[in-house]
């Protein structure tokens, strides 16, 4: 089974991510060590709190470089919640734009809804032929966030495989998950989404194993 690093670059509950990934049989380490994060078969990037602080903390341990190098080599990276949001080029915070690590074009904006954060179990419309959602249907996932990407902007053509985008709805449509080559991400928390979440993580670990 593959070696997974849960990237530990800030505060919050990284333990649940580790334990949930371990249920798949993977060997999981929590660390922010540059070499370990680069060498792992799969890099899992959690993230909580504000977009700007999260992106800044990620850069402070050179997480942006690690992710860049891994993706250049086709090595799997998966971002969760704000750990997904920071993959986009910018986020809005108190009305100003803050830079992300720019793997995907697009802006993270505050959802338009009566009650925020969007907190609880919601459904998703999984992308066709998704590997991430294989074996999972009609399940709910646990979300907790106020900001999201409401417009998918990456347009690929020619020889590139188009990214698979999964949507959800709260007040408006927003991106719930993306599979784009070695870069996967979810806005929801698979490590907190019960059996459906564990199945999704098992799907990712199987993908990591397949490209090891």
């Amino acid at each position: 089974m593959p070696d997974i690093v849960v990237f530990d670059y800030g505060s919050g509950n990284v333990r649940s991510a580790q334990r949930a990934l371990e249920t798949t049989g993977a060997h999981v380490t929590i660390t922010s060590d540059f070499d370990a994060a680069l060498a792992a078969d799969g890099l899992f990037v959690p993230g909580v709190g504000a977009f700007g602080a999260c992106a800044q903390q990620l850069r402070s341990v050179r997480g942006d470089q690690i992710i860049e190098r891994r993706l250049a080599g086709g090595r799997p990276v998966m971002g969760i919640c704000v750990g997904m949001q920071v993959f986009f080029d910018s986020g809005t915070e108190h009305g100003t734009l803050v830079p992300g690590i720019n793997q995907w074009p697009g802006q993270v904006v505050e959802l338009k809804a009566d009650v925020l954060p969007h907190m609880g179990w919601n459904t998703v419309t999984a992308a066709q032929k998704s590997a991430m959602f294989q074996g999972i249907s009609d399940e709910r996932f646990y979300f907790v966030h106020s900001f999201a990407v409401t417009q998918w902007e990456l347009d690929v053509s020619g020889a590139f495989t188009p990214p698979l985008v999964t949507w959800s709805h709260y007040g408006q449509d927003f991106v719930a998950a993306v599979e784009n080559g070695p870069l996967w991400a979810t806005q929801f928390h698979p490590e907190k989404s019960g059996d459906a979440g564990l199945q999704l993580l098992a799907n990712w670990v199987a993908y990591v194993e397949s490209v090891k």
Binding site: P117, M119, Y142, Y170
Partner: protein, 253 residues
């Protein structure tokens, strides 16, 4: 496609043991919060709340250990409240595996704790836990401290508004008047809080029968919490969800 309302069991824990008798069948150790938590997870709970009522602050390690053991096996959101006095307490609970941390009495005496914790960890993991009773204040409700035994001298609505402005991402709204009565949630209280704040509200206190849950959601709550009716097996989570579904609410099956 829409967000499901949440049904949340709450466990009162003292020194790592569940207090208030628990009458669950098929438990090896009914006093072990971890075993009970896993049973609730299997039973369809959408989240779980631990309320740590351990009097001595010297026994926090027991609490962290309990949170760790729970988070190792339970993959639904876990909120832990009780005895949280400093930003460092929040950090340690999150690191042990809590997803959200409830701040109650310490927030009233030191509101800056909410600001600091929300800034450091994000609004989404800071829950304002507030014990409210009817009183002669502006809104007709006051915030109490020490599990409802003392008046804080503050109007409940004013305090909840301030705490949300300071960064609390959710309100666990416990009615001390309804708590333990099993006569239903305090719907007036839920309604006035819903009108005032734009964060999720968890209704707590008073659930006694199946028909009690839907009115709390109609009054504006996003989630319903109960303790004893679940612990004693009077109602199951699935019963409650079926009833809510019949009433037109979206639930997670």
């Amino acid at each position: 496609m829409s967000l499901a309302v949440r049904v949340i069991p709450c466990l009162d824990v003292d020194n790592g043991r569940v207090v208030k008798g628990v009458n669950f069948v098929n438990l090896r150790d009914a006093g072990d919060p971890v075993e009970l938590a896993l049973a609730y997870g299997q039973a369809g709970a959408d989240e779980l709340v631990y309320l740590d009522i351990t009097a001595s602050s010297g026994n926090r390690e027991t609490t962290y250990d309990m949170v760790r053991r729970t988070a190792d096996q339970l993959f639904i959101p876990l909120t832990v409240g009780g005895g949280v006095r400093a930003v460092d307490d929040v950090d340690r609970l999150l690191r042990a595996g809590a997803d959200k941390v409830g701040i109650n009495t310490a927030g009233l005496s030191n509101p800056d704790l909410i600001t600091q914790a929300a800034r450091k960890f994000g609004n989404q993991c800071i829950v304002l836990s507030v014990d409210v009773r009817r009183a002669d204040t502006e809104s007709g409700f006051e915030a109490t401290t020490h599990g409802g035994r003392q008046s804080s001298g503050r109007d409940a609505l004013e305090w909840i508004t301030e705490a949300v402005e300071r960064g609390a991402g959710e309100v666990l709204l416990n009615s001390m008047d309804a708590d333990g009565t099993k006569n239903g949630y305090d719907l007036d209280l839920i309604h006035v809080v819903r009108e005032r704040v734009g964060v999720p509200v968890i209704a707590s206190g008073g659930a006694g029968k199946l028909e009690d849950f839907a009115p709390a959601l109609s009054a504006g709550a996003d989630a319903v919490l109960a303790a004893s009716v679940f612990h004693f097996g009077e109602l199951t989570i699935r019963d409650v969800k079926s009833e809510l579904k019949r009433s037109g609410f979206t639930v997670r099956d």
